[in-house]
Structure formats: C-alpha cells, structure tokens
Symmetry: C2
C-alpha cells in the first residue's frame, strides 16, 4: 500500500520501519533531513512537504508532540490538506486532547477525508518490538481499512468508539499508569523510612490484590534505582495536563490523578523531567528528607 | 499442636476452621458464645478467658479489629498474659499500626513470650479459600515454628523483617490497593462522562502497562455495579487512618494516598461504608453530577 508517515522521532521511526519491512511503499516528509537517514535503504520516497506526501498516499500516519503540531501538519502551510484527495485516511498516533482530536476529525470530515485518532501505549520499547497497545477512535469502516497496518505496529489494536474515543482511552491509561507509579513509589518509600526492606515488601505484595505491572516493572526499577527512560516524566506531565484540562471541561473530579499531576509538575521543576516516571521516588525522598 | 485462637469473626472463623481441619487441638474464647457455634463438632475446647486459652496453648492467634482490642486481649483483665508461660508465641493477624505492634511485641518480650505481627491480605474469600497473603514481622525462629500453621491459612507466607515489619508491609499493601481502586474508578468515570464505553476502555487497557489485578477484578465489579463486599469501605478508611498516622509520625508525604484517604472518609460520610471499596465509583459519580 502507498503509506505516508510524518513524525519520525523516537516513536515514529520504528513504526515507519515496521511498515517498510512489511513491504509497503512509504512516503515521507520530515522537518529535519537527518530523520530520513534510517530509510535510505528502504522503499521510501522523500517529499518536499506534507501536501506532497498526502498526494501520493492512501493512508497517512502522524506521530508528533501535541495538538498544535497535528494541526500544523494537517492544515498548516503546505499541510496534508494541500494534497489530500477524498477517500484519504489520516491516522494520528500522537497523544492529544480528545476535544482537539474531535475538532481535527470534523475539519477532515468536511473535506471527505477520514480521520482516526490512534494514540498508543507501550513506549519506545513497545514501538521497537511492534508490541504497542493502539487505542482508536473513528468510523468502523476506516478502522477496518487501517487495521492491518496497525497490526504491523502493535500487538493489541482496539476500536474504542467514535472520533476522540482513542484519546479518551489513552487519557484513562495515563491516569492509571501515573497514579499507580506514584502509589508504588509512596509504598516503597514508606517501607524504607519505616526501616523495612522495600524489596521484601514488593515481593510479598506481588502475589496479592496489590499486583500491577507497574509494581512489577517500575517497582523493580525503583529498587535498582534505574531511572533511565522508559517514559519520560516531562511527557507524563504533558499527558496529565491533557487529562486535567479534560476533567475541567467535563466538570469532573479526579482526586488521585490531581495529586499525581502536582507531583509531575514538581518532577519537572526539580530537574527530574528527563527521568523515567519511576523517578517520582526521588521526589518523595527529597520531600521526606534523609533516612 | 495445641493452638489458641481469639477473634472468631468473618476473617478469624474460617482461619480457625482450617487449623482444626488440619488436626490441631484448638483452644477458644469468645466474647459472644454464638461465635463458638461453628466449632462444636471439631476438636476445640472453649475456655472462660484468654488467660485460660494461653495456659493450654503453644501458639495463640488473635484476629481482632484494632490495636486497643489486641492490647485488651493480651494484657487486659484475664488477658493472655494471665496464663502465658515463657516460650509461648502470640501471632496477631489483625491490621494495626506498626508502632502499636512494636509496642505490644516489646511488652511480650519482657515476659519471654514471642510476638509476631502477621496481618493478611485477600479478604474473607481469601480466608475461606486459605489463599491469604500473610506478612510477618518478628524473630526468624518464632516465624519458622509458626510457618506451617500460617501455610494452613494462606498461600503466600512472608517474613518481611523484625517486629512491626508485617504491619509495615500491610500498610504498603493498603496504599497500593486503595489508590489503585480509586484510580480505576476515576478512569472508568472519565471514560463514561466522555461518552465512551468504559468496558471497551478497560478491555484495551488490560493488555498494557495499566494492568493491575484491581483493574481486572474491581474494574469488572464497577462495570457490573456489584458493590457487595469484598472489602468494606469503612475498613479501608480505618486502614488508611493507620497509614496516614504513620506517615505523620515518620514525617513522610504520601500525596496519592492522602487524596484517597479523603475519598474513603467521604465514602463513610456518604453512607457507602458497607460497600466494597470499588463503590468509590459511586462517590465520584455523585461528585460529578448526572451524565
């Protein structure tokens, strides 16, 4: 298939490479030419603008930082809409606000282009291993056409609902992972400051109701003091901003997520923004002083 | 073995029955004679006081509500210490504050009686199925003598550390389960209020980093609106009081647990105290108004 891909960063690059390896013809554009380097041996054509990418593709994926970036790529100068023909599908894999995704979807619908919001969870390692969870919002027919491509990039591909529903599921995911990683850090710090071996506590708790993948994986990172990302704390902060803005818009209380959003503000303010989210343990330690 | 058991409530009764079934001679005392009914066909002797129980037993288990109850049974009028001989082991399976457990342990040590704090997780179902996680603090030799009895009652038996360490692990467990159940309720309520099917969100998230046993089991309870305990919210409130008092004593910040402790205060205040902790969803719904 003729596939466009825009946003060849840490997450986008391995995903585009999976599509190339599966035999698809890639059409690429990148702000920085260096981003195109890894594709010089594959069946990829580099173009001068997103508009040119859209003109050659049946499906275009975008994987950028935030809503303004998606809007720029879609509707900015020489944006995708400059080359888009009716029937094109644009699938945005970035994490942005559900309301923003719905707005972008509506703009595309007016141009007879299908838009899918398709954020992912699983991080860079998940992207490299094609093991992502992909959460999709949009029309079922468009989803079914793109599903084989999603399955090239992830191991769990889910149509959640209509436009924006993928971003809602991603927001729910970010509530759960950020709150759980903070609770794990609080529990292990509580054990240590109580004079008890946090490794023994974690081991005992893994067998019961307290089990979570975060306790298993990020709990182990905390014990090993391995705070290399993984998923960076400044990105968690950004995703929690989206969550809390949506909660404000919906008139919804999220008490545990709200406390945790403050922690990730403080992570960035404390200079821990580049650390994995499990580094929230360091912030708790800093708050509670020496042992 | 000659075993004493005091505290034959929802949790204690099935545990004592496991010990009887394993062929041990039980020595019982209960405030209410009705509590002794289930034991009338087993090799159990009923006594007139905790002191009499202690006089006949090598190991005495207690499973009561809170620290003052443990202290009353141990050191009150006709308490265990009235009949305890040097070498007796008292194993308290109640959930109480770590500092209180250490204090009780020290009082017993002065009388040459070994004390183990051995709180459990897994609830009434875990007790009935002998599937509890048991977290033990105390001396290794005393633990090894009681271990076969613990293994009759639980499937995961862990010596965490010295006196009080079992209660520290239990407090960590309560931080994790209460915060996770609240985060799951927040995420599912967020999905629903966003117009997205919470069942589809849960299903998609179970496959990724957001997986927890709480998302699986309590998430399903929330979808089915089955708030029958399980673990009652007023007991979660009590356990979080212990956690927050310890945090105060240690000078320790627990931001997510603190937010969740307020939610469980409000659960009880809202008349949801008898509901399972997954009922925290109802409180969030009440806070955010009609759909």
């Amino acid at each position: 298939m003729e596939i466009g891909f825009i946003g060849l960063g840490l997450m986008g690059r391995p995903l585009a490479l999976h599509l190339a390896k599966a035999g698809h013809a890639l059409h690429l554009w990148a702000r920085r030419p260096a981003s195109l380097e890894p594709f010089k041996d594959s069946a990829a054509t580099c173009h001068a603008s997103p508009a040119a990418v859209a003109a050659h593709a049946e499906v275009v994926f975008t994987m950028v930082a935030d809503a303004p970036d998606v809007e720029e790529v879609c509707f900015g100068v020489d944006g995708l809409d400059g080359g888009a023909r009716p029937g094109l599908i644009v699938a945005d894999m970035s994490t942005i606000a559900p309301a923003a995704a719905q707005g972008i979807g509506a703009r595309w619908a007016a141009r007879h282009v299908e838009f899918l919001d398709a954020p992912v969870s699983g991080g860079e390692v998940g992207a490299i291993n094609a093991a992502l969870t992909i959460m999709v919002g949009g029309k079922p027919e468009a989803f079914e056409r793109v599903r084989p491509l999603f399955e090239t990039m992830g191991k769990s591909v889910n149509l959640i609902g209509g436009s924006g529903a993928g971003q809602v599921a991603k927001a729910c995911n970010q509530i759960l992972v950020s709150v759980t990683v903070t609770a794990v850090a609080e529990a292990l710090n509580f054990a240590k400051k109580s004079g008890v071996d946090p490794a023994k506590v974690r081991e005992a708790l893994l067998g019961g109701f307290a089990y979570s993948r975060i306790l298993e994986l990020h709990g182990q990172r905390m014990l090993a003091r391995n705070f290399k990302p993984g998923f960076k704390s400044w990105m968690q902060q950004k995703d929690l901003r989206i969550v809390m803005e949506e909660a404000h818009r919906l008139g919804l209380a999220l008490p545990s997520a709200a406390a945790v959003a403050q922690m990730f503000n403080a992570m960035v303010g404390s200079g821990f923004g580049e650390d994995d989210t499990s580094g929230v343990l360091k912030l708790l330690e800093k708050m509670s002083g020496p042992d």
